[in-house]
């Protein structure tokens, strides 16, 4: 019976080549193929095998299985439904429509099928048929997805009013579906409401929306192995579903405990949830398994530096830089630690390289200039800041740093009060804040305009009472100097 059963099966289904698959996956598929033989090749057996194939993207083999299952049991809606899904995944849209149509004939309540039909018809540009299918899916379980697609149908017709209504309805039901803000913005743009369009674009994100589909969700759940869990974890993490991501990365570890990448990712996501201890444990374990892992070194180094343990962080960041000399971010973090430890020449070297690698990295530019100042190389700091501002004239961070240097540099020959004032005012206008008012005051003091400096210093003081009360003492001392009148240069 076994051999005969397999012979029948071989005629019906094109077995995929399992070579090169992760062993857990290959074992799972092989086991399902063997089970089919034992089950006597009934509709359910074909259907089960088809679902496993579909789960791993073997769409042709899945199609064969579901077609067989449907032929054996024409009353079970699941087989044409899954056949439709396999055909849709393979891009065979007309065949998918036929199959979903058969499934819905058997189970009209499976409204997710209408969503699939609507989606396919929209892709085909058959907008009336798309709308007809999607309207049948306007029931609670699938209404949000249906509205989102009806919105796209309306956009394709340039019926912007209807598009806005549908997309608003979808977003009201599922506010986290941030991707929908884009088509909604296009609808408002089409209606001539640019302000609302821009407001919507400001909310746009990467989270999509799809109808709950128990049958296909079950297919996805069939996937096993480290790699699948890794993929799911990464998708969840990037969608901001950190707890789901943690669960998936732990599953990956259960499948392959020696998986370094699972531990690195688990550590990263744990850190994002605030579990620093768990994150560091996971990253340390990753480094135990792979002492040269650059990402683990970088992440652990970042966590330690951020957590007030720079000396512990330093060797990890040094390892990250050694492994990836072109990693500007790692160099910048290492440079900061070295600078804060007083190792200024070494810090400067890393800042320099970080700037070379990432000329647009404002933090690296600023760090380089600050290190030069601490080394007493004021003119050089000014030159480097000028170069940076030449490339990034709109940078508030760099403008402010340069204004400070020009207003209050210990080497008076480096100062330039007029330019300092111009820069400081532009920073203040862009972002009124205590330190920025203080810099304007410094620039005015450098120019000998002590009364005006005092006025600005009072402004800085007022803001600091809310923003930075700890700085009030310093501000008051400078204010007293300004109030005494000229000379009031810092």
């Amino acid at each position: 019976m076994g051999k005969l059963g397999m012979a029948v099966l071989l005629l019906a289904v094109r077995f995929p080549d399992l070579s090169g698959l992760e062993s857990a996956v290959a074992d799972q598929i092989a086991e399902m193929q063997r089970l089919l033989d034992h089950q006597g090749a009934g509709a359910a057996a074909y259907g089960d095998l088809g679902q496993v194939y579909l789960a791993y993207g073997f769409n042709d083999a899945a199609t064969d299985c579901f077609r067989e299952a449907a032929a054996m049991d024409a009353r079970d809606w699941r087989w044409p439904y899954l056949l439709g899904a396999a055909q849709q995944a393979a891009g065979r849209l007309d065949e998918a429509v036929t199959a979903f149509g058969q499934a819905l004939g058997l189970a009209p309540d499976s409204t997710a099928g209408y969503v699939h039909l609507g989606e396919i018809r929209l892709l085909q540009g058959r907008l009336d048929e798309a709308e007809a299918a999607l309207r049948k899916a306007l029931v609670p379980a699938t209404a949000a997805a249906s509205h989102s697609l009806l919105g796209q149908v309306a956009l394709a017709r340039r019926d912007f009013r209807a598009a806005a209504e549908h997309l608003e309805a979808a977003l009201a039901a599922v506010p986290e579906a941030s991707r929908l803000h884009v088509p909604l913005a296009m609808a408002y743009r089409g209606l001539g409401d640019r302000a609302r369009a821009e407001e919507q674009l400001g909310k746009a994100g990467a989270v999509g929306l799809r109808a709950p589909d128990p049958l296909l969700d079950g297919v996805a759940a069939l996937r096993v192995g480290e790699r699948v869990a890794m993929m799911r974890g990464r998708v969840a993490a990037q969608a901001g579903r950190y707890q789901d991501a943690i669960q998936e990365f732990r599953r990956a570890l259960a499948a392959r405990p020696e998986s370094v990448e699972a531990r690195v990712n688990l550590g990263s996501v744990l850190a994002l949830t605030g579990d620093r201890t768990g994150a560091m444990d996971s990253l340390r374990e990753a480094l135990r398994l792979d002492p040269a892992n650059a990402t683990a070194h970088f992440n652990l180094g970042s966590l330690l530096a951020d957590g007030g343990s720079p000396e512990e962080a330093r060797p990890h960041l040094e390892a990250a830089v050694a492994a990836r000399p072109e990693d500007a971010e790692a160099r910048r973090l290492l440079a900061k630690i070295l600078r804060d430890a007083g190792r200024l020449p070494a810090a400067l070297e890393h800042y320099r390289r970080a700037v070379e690698l990432a000329p647009g990295d404002e933090a690296a530019r600023l760090g380089e200039a600050e290190t030069l100042v601490r080394l007493g190389r004021y003119a050089e700091a000014r030159t480097r800041l000028d170069e940076a501002l030449g490339q990034m004239p709109g940078s508030g961070l760099l403008s402010h740093a340069q204004a400070r240097l020009l207003a209050a540099c210990p080497d008076p020959s480096v100062r330039d009060g007029e330019r300092a004032l111009k820069l400081a005012l532009s920073v203040w206008q862009a972002r009124p804040a205590a330190p920025h008012a203080e810099t304007v005051a410094l620039a005015l003091a450098e120019l000998g305009r002590c009364d005006e400096a005092a006025i600005w210093q009072r402004t800085a003081r007022e803001r600091a009472q809310i923003e930075a009360p700890a700085r009030l003492g310093d501000l008051d001392r400078a204010l007293a100097r300004y109030e005494k009148g000229a000379p009031c240069r810092p």
Partner: protein, 599 residues
Amino acid sequence: MRACIPDKDLKDCKDCKDTEVFLSLQSLLSFGSLLSRVLASAFLLCVLLATHPPAHAAPPDLFVDRAADWGLAFTYASGRTGELYFPEIMGGGAALFDYDNDGDLDVFVVQGHSLKPGATVGPEGRGRLFRNDLITPQGRNAVPRFVDVTEASGIRATGYGMGVATGDYDNDGRTDLYVANFGSNQLWHNEGDGKFTDATAKTGTDDPRWSAGAAFADLDRDGWLDLFVLNYVDFSVQNNVRCYAPSSRRDYCGPQAFPPVTSRLLRNRGNGTFEDVSLKSGIGRKAGPGLGVVAADLDGNGWPDLFVANDGSPSFLWLNQKDFTFKEDGLLAGVAVNAAGKPEAGMGIALGDCDGDGDDDLLITHLTGETNTLYLSQGGGLFEDATARSGLGAPSLPYTGFGTAWLDFDNDGWLDLAAFNGAVNLNGAQWAKGDLFPYAQPDQLFRNQGGGHFVAVGPEAGVAFRTPRVSRGAAFGDVDNDGDTDILVVDTDSPVRLLVNESGSRNSWLGLRLVGKPVGARVEVRRKGSLSLWRRAATDGSYASASDPRVLVGLGASSEVMEVRVLWPDGIVEIFPPPPLRAYTTLVRGTGKAPETRP
């Protein structure tokens, strides 16, 4: 904190920010069943033909590959190492350009080679230049004959070639060549005597990162071509990672596995050197995995903008602020993502007036499981995703498109579309058959039925379209000067194809060679009793390639031309009398008539 950047990544996580996990399965399609069906139906057809002879012979192929016949012997070598280095799956491109100013299109093709550490690059690992010696036998059509002149030309394109751009950067009347590599790029200056010299260092135009292509355009309208260098991701052989298909089989990585990088903008100083204005201009402040670029005035303010197709990330529309700074506004313009708000894997770009309304529309080729997406211009820099109603979406779903262009292949006055395909995800069915490089897909030709509504051209497109290959770059141009558009296609690890158009010159056409800073010019052909036809004089777009800068206009049934208007890139408009039909005419800037100004 570098969160969730695994040392080893998953290829199928193409849409990693998506919650629709299941849909990612679409990225791995299997074509075994399609192929077997084709074979089965072919067999059935043979049986039927044997018993019932056809009443009519099958129509001849619209395009025929004549590369080998005409001496274009070249194979782009990915240098596959087995390590699945990312660049191995992405190259390369070609240029159609008249380097010797003899009136016909010559060919430059970039070349790859092994990226294995320590591997040496021999002559076979270099880009090649082929001169077109167009032969015109008495009373017969001209026939190109290509001669490999690489050695004599002095071109030593030794980098791992990805793409190429063409343009006369020093206004000496000769077209120069910029070769974009994985690694340092090269600018080859055309000396005019058949020789090129490496002007990279002298001009300051290198970029050591992974460049996928480049575009020359006069962005400040000062009469000198500036250079946009399109960069992709921060991959290196040392930071290679392992990626996997949904089946869990190892596969090439996608762009999400590596950080995107910024592109570079180089301003032509007019003295043979360029200034790097990447940061100052804003371009260098936004990283993206760029694979396609066009320079054109997309918001209608008379200044060329830049559109960059990013791979798996929102595309960029850099709007020219007229002071050599650019503002990125792709989202509001409607071209950053598709109608569903989803970024797609942008590869090639076609820019042209496909719906005949006088402004240029964008078509971007994408990954399997995504449509090729059409953005119709609504004027004023606003676009709408019109893929659903265009007929271009659904047929492109199973394919990963690279090289593409609007071309009026039948010269009926409507721009058609060609898309050259090749997967980047392993095809399980091809793998099972023992294919060493299981990424082949057929190419596609779409006929514009008028107004921007398209249908896929069937088998009559030609066996060259039907045969699956791993297609990448494609350059478009009239190689045999017979008045229709031919296509040079670069396939990975297969001989280049020269798809010669066997159909287009049956309809009337006119050809225009613009002289006097033509890059980015637009041409309006005014016809009696019919809508005007608008065409671009451009070499950019497609994928990693540079196309014929001449303007070829199919006239269809309305061949009575009243006048030709040229809108030069600096805003000057000139009117030229109707040029002769079925011939190329040179229009020299300054020799046309200014349009009448009315109070």
